[in-house]
Symmetry: D5
Subunit: 92 residues, 10 copies
């Protein structure tokens, strides 16, 4: 099951910078583990914004929600989820 | 250069159906040619809508615009283009 | 897999009324067949609008897209799809 | 009387975490009590967001407002309420 | 049960004027009948627009939907429905 | 002169609760005084939200602005004002 | 009573040009009559758009609605009305 | 050169009230000086909101920006600027 | 006086193609004449859309409006105008 | 590769003014260095707002993102990026 997920990250100006940098490092580790497992096959930076466009490949909605809500930066994210179906013109 | 492109297609109810079906067939052929050339590496259907999310990999803005504006269904599309940069957490 | 789907129907004022009434009758038959099969467990009218809120229970995104894009009134619909996960407070 | 209610929860980053966890536990208890009473027959998680889609079955607007405004997390919620009428195609 | 309903009317420029004037006359008759019955206790014109703000007092969502969807100008309306509860400061 | 006014109240989570409760009590007293004077003939709760829909009957824009901007909770409100004209179908 | 009114005019591409030019001429005559009477003290063009920003000075909402809904181009307009109160810093 | 400017003022609830009142007094003085000079010929209160609609008459964009960005309450304002051209129907 | 202008062009599907191509040719000629005169120093295509971002350098609002409203494709355009002031960091 | 970038800057009212002024000075230095290098050929002030419209001329999306995300005021900016293609009417 494929999903296109866009995550926009908003950092409050009065957040503790050390705490936030630690969360960012944890986020990177989690993301790379999921990429290696094939569950997060694509992650791209939205040019000019603290945001990404990602493709997830998971078993179902529950697994996607568990992954996204467990991300260390989840409390700072605005997330949109688009379920992706097979396109009739796709040669993949 | 990577771009995320979302195309929403709106078919006026009084369009000539034969003309439109012919354009759809042409669109499919153009899309599959570009997929085979590696310029349109991903195309997914937005579940429940006459729309797609696509990834393009082209030389520059001019090539992307030439491709998109040359699509047979371009006159019926609303298009959003998001330029994609490398994400620091990507393992690709 | 559960999805919340909202369908808003816009009828162009110059559509052929007989054609449209026939499509409506077909839509009703398709909807009731899917309800009986358990794939469309809930359909409610949005009070005051030509629109519905529905719950679908299908195998995956592809099956949902096949159902929705095959509805007789699909060309007149604006559709939003929300994938639903299990809620931790649900007793169901 | 049926209502579709969507609740989006926004947690300020500087809220006291213990207080908030206590409110969450209270919210869960209230929700499950209302589910058992049949007044909150469905609650689903919006995949990827701290939000839910719910169906309420109550006597009238006043009862719904009393329930929603009394939820422990109400001060952190953005809520949309859609009154649901019977759909002519429903077999329920 | 009280509802605040806003109706915005859009008249396509190529509609048949005689047909539309006839619908307007029918609409007025239906509205006044419902006002006399106490089901449509208030109707005000939105200054400067072909729109009204109305209060309905009906048994339930189904009755409101039957009334609104049966209005002769319903096919030309955009409608928003706000269910109204008792306000704790109201002296009514 | 009639106006439809919608007030949405946003309470910052770090406001002093005692101060706010005092303002709420003052707001209620002001509202009821204006209701008794006939200047605020209707106030309804928007079901599920900390908001109201109200009808004001005042001499002119200046009087309405003086009333609204003098409400104790005005600093926490988002307000929309719709001037209401007589509707040609009204039997009032 | 002062009102700020913005009118945006949308001309359908298939409207009869002679009819529309005649309506424009009538609109100009009506506007200039109201300007001379002091009821429409200001009218400015929104630079780059077929739209205007106007100030009206009329007795009440009913008079404003009668004027606006009677404009020859009213069926082609989207209108927003802002009631204007005296500003405490104004020296006028 | 004429411009229509709308200023919406948002006062954070935790701002120092004395500081803010001092800024308001300064704002009023600046506004009245510019009104007397003919550069700010109109200022009206948006009924029911902490906002104004103003007309400015200045030499060019640079002068307008210098005035607006120099207002004591500028840090609390959301501003929209509409450049106004002569309207062909204006008798002014 | 500098202005940033974005023009989005919407071509109705039932427009006469020959008429539209003629208007496009006229539009190009007008645009290039204004570019040569220095009044339209920049015009760029918005990648993927039938739209442009342009910079205009004209005497005042009236001249800009005369230019834009006189463009052959003006009836098909949605236009946004942003007046540009000198930026304090600019080295130009 | 050309991009149109709009940056809107929001300064929280409780930010440390000295820190912010230092960031502004650094921002100006970075901007002017990039202007001198030809990578930021245009920067204009949006009249009446703390915002700019800029044109960037860089090698690719990655370079643009590195520049924008490295700006000292980036944490306070809302940024929109529009990739610009060559316009067929351009004489440049």
């Amino acid at each position: 099951m494929l999903y296109c997920v866009q995550m926009d990250i908003h950092v409050p100006h009065d957040v503790d910078r050390n705490d936030f940098e630690r969360l960012k490092a944890e986020e990177k580790a989690v993301s790379q583990k999921l990429q290696r497992e094939g569950k997060w096959p694509h992650i791209w930076r939205v040019t000019g914004r603290y945001a990404n466009v990602s493709i997830f490949d998971v078993a179902d909605h529950d697994e996607l929600h568990a992954i996204l809500s467990g991300l260390p930066l989840f409390p700072f994210m605005q997330i949109t989820v688009t379920p992706l179906a097979r396109h009739p013109s796709s040669i993949a």
